[in-house]
């Protein structure tokens, strides 16, 4: 185990994220980034925010690192001695309360803006009028996963509330090149291979054709439910799926709504394939675990014929979730992906595409549940809402991302520009709303 302030070995998950970043830079207008959005009930002092952010971000040299390889070829994050660059903070002032459409359009612009250079991994934006403001942080997925981004902003808020920064940002990262225990990794790899090959053999999954052109950005639709609506949705999830089974309930509704789209497009595939992220934070060191990636994946494979009846669909999703967790698939995937680090990123990109012949999934799905951002305020302003706007690797170029904050359920639909027409997007939204709010099948 290496403990170092200048070097942090990448995990298998980190390397896969690096590969996706490269693939997205090749296939779209930017890398594998996401954006976390805070909707505040009051304007923020942008000058104070800029000053505070500059100080806070620059106290973490890890935020201005880059990937390198050591002599044994293990990839690591090379951390500079000092962070020197102020993060980008763009401010959009509006005289009147803007329409939601224009806010989404501004947020889309920042979610799709490439970083200024290879050592730049964060950018901030403030949209403000006289009564409220929206603060967003666009982040490189190589440095944070979604939970880590929430924890990072939470730490920033904590730093505002105490006179001194509660932590030292020059972190002695404990990491391993993980070039031992090969038999364990190969066994995990064998289990993962068997599952992936079985998935690939079953049938080619349904998916929307990714539009041509390599300069496309992503578009978003936010479905935000009131606290009263959210209580109703959670009650429905309990009635239909059982205690703490919101995730399969939400996914079942999304799949039923997507099926309407595929019917209208005369889709012919016989199954849907949906990768779902799972948080594998070890919980050993909260500060270190803010940075880098701790996610693994489950893959649901759903026959098209099983989608129409929600009770059967939920039972199928629960059974698959149970069997995958029981077989240790998510942890095996994380372990086996350590083996991929030897591969250069372009080669790994081709390897990831191989089993599914380039059609990797129908859509991505993630339910973050309760936010890791604990405070009810940001820079002294009450937070009305918090949600995420990720870019999705293409293919599939389509993802559904839900979270719960301040009594509200949010669902963000993210898709590469041109994948969906506006009327199709509205059809999906209406399908989801109707099923969430009225329980229609």
């Amino acid at each position: 185990m290496l403990v170092s302030k200048r070097k942090r070995y990448l995990s298998g998950s980190d390397w896969v994220i690096n590969c996706l970043d490269r693939m997205m830079k090749n296939a779209t207008n930017a890398g594998n980034m996401s954006q976390i959005v805070l909707v505040l009930a009051a304007p923020v002092d942008e000058h104070e925010l800029r000053e505070r952010l500059n100080g806070f971000v620059k106290s973490f040299p890890v935020l201005q690192g880059r990937v390198s390889r050591d002599l044994k070829l293990a990839p690591y994050w090379k951390i500079p001695k000092h962070a020197v660059n102020d993060p980008l903070l763009a401010v959009h002032r509006m005289d009147q309360s803007p329409a939601d459409g224009s806010i989404v359009s501004l947020l889309e612009r920042s979610a799709n803006a490439p970083f200024r250079g290879p050592e730049d991994h964060l950018a901030f934006q403030v949209i403000t009028d006289t009564e409220r403001s929206i603060v967003s942080m666009t982040f490189d997925h190589r440095i944070f996963d979604a939970r880590g981004a929430e924890l990072f902003l939470d730490l920033f808020q904590q730093s505002l509330q105490s006179s001194a920064l509660p932590i030292d940002g020059v972190i002695p990262f404990a990491s391993s090149s993980a070039l031992t225990q090969w038999s364990k990794k190969f066994l995990a790899g064998r289990n993962v291979n068997r599952r992936i090959i079985a998935l690939a053999k079953a049938s080619e999954p349904e998916g929307l054709p990714v539009p041509t052109g390599t300069d496309r950005g992503f578009r978003y639709r936010l479905l935000s439910f009131s606290p009263q609506e959210t209580v109703g949705i959670y009650d429905r999830a309990y009635q239909e799926a059982g205690y703490l089974m919101e995730s399969p309930f939400l996914l079942s509704v999304i799949l039923q709504s997507l099926q309407e789209l595929f019917r209208s497009r005369k889709g012919t595939a016989s199954s849907y394939l949906i990768p779902v992220t799972m948080d594998l934070r070890p919980g050993k060191d909260q500060l270190q675990e803010i940075f880098f990636n701790y996610v693994s994946y489950l893959f649901y494979q759903v026959p098209v014929r099983s989608i129409a009846g929600r009770a059967g669909l939920i039972a199928l999703l629960k059974e698959q979730m149970y069997e995958l967790v029981k077989s240790g698939f998510p942890r095996d995937l994380a372990e086996a992906s350590l083996l991929t680090r030897i591969a250069p990123l372009p080669v790994l990109g081709k390897l990831l595409n191989l089993p599914m012949k380039g059609k990797m999934a129908t859509c991505a799905f993630s339910h973050l549940g309760k936010s890791a951002y604990r405070s009810s305020e940001f820079m002294g302003a009450k937070i009305d809402n918090l949600y995420h706007m990720p870019r999705v690797p293409a293919p599939p170029g389509l993802g559904f991302f839900s979270n719960y904050f301040n009594g509200r359920l949010n669902l963000v639909i993210s898709f590469i520009d041109g994948l969906l027409e506006d009327k199709e997007l509205s059809m999906i939204e209406q399908g989801i709303r109707a099923r969430f709010l009225t329980g229609s099948d």
């Binding site: 309990y238 967790v325 029981k326």
Partner: protein
């Protein structure tokens, strides 16, 4: 196995799954207050199957059955 022995095993397993200290897992707390999501909950159900040979995923468990770790321990004790 007594309810208390089952409860102790559950607390250890849940602490490991929820990345918490054993002392932070109060047997009278509901699961949803432990910050456990659907996947974490499934991990707990898998732990219960592996430890007590009881498969609960497809059963008609209610919120009341999972009201607290203690109530789950009582449920398991009745089923063993």
């Amino acid at each position: 196995m007594t309810v208390q022995e089952i409860e102790e095993k559950l607390v250890q397993g849940i602490a490991s799954i929820a990345n918490r200290e054993v002392s932070a897992i109060a047997p009278e707390k509901p699961f949803h207050e432990l910050g456990i999501d659907s996947l974490g909950f499934v991990e707990i159900l898998v732990f219960i199957e592996k430890t007590f040979q009881l498969k609960l995923i497809a059963s008609d468990l209610t919120k009341q059955d999972f009201e607290t770790i203690h109530s789950v321990a009582s449920y398991i004790s009745r089923k063993l």
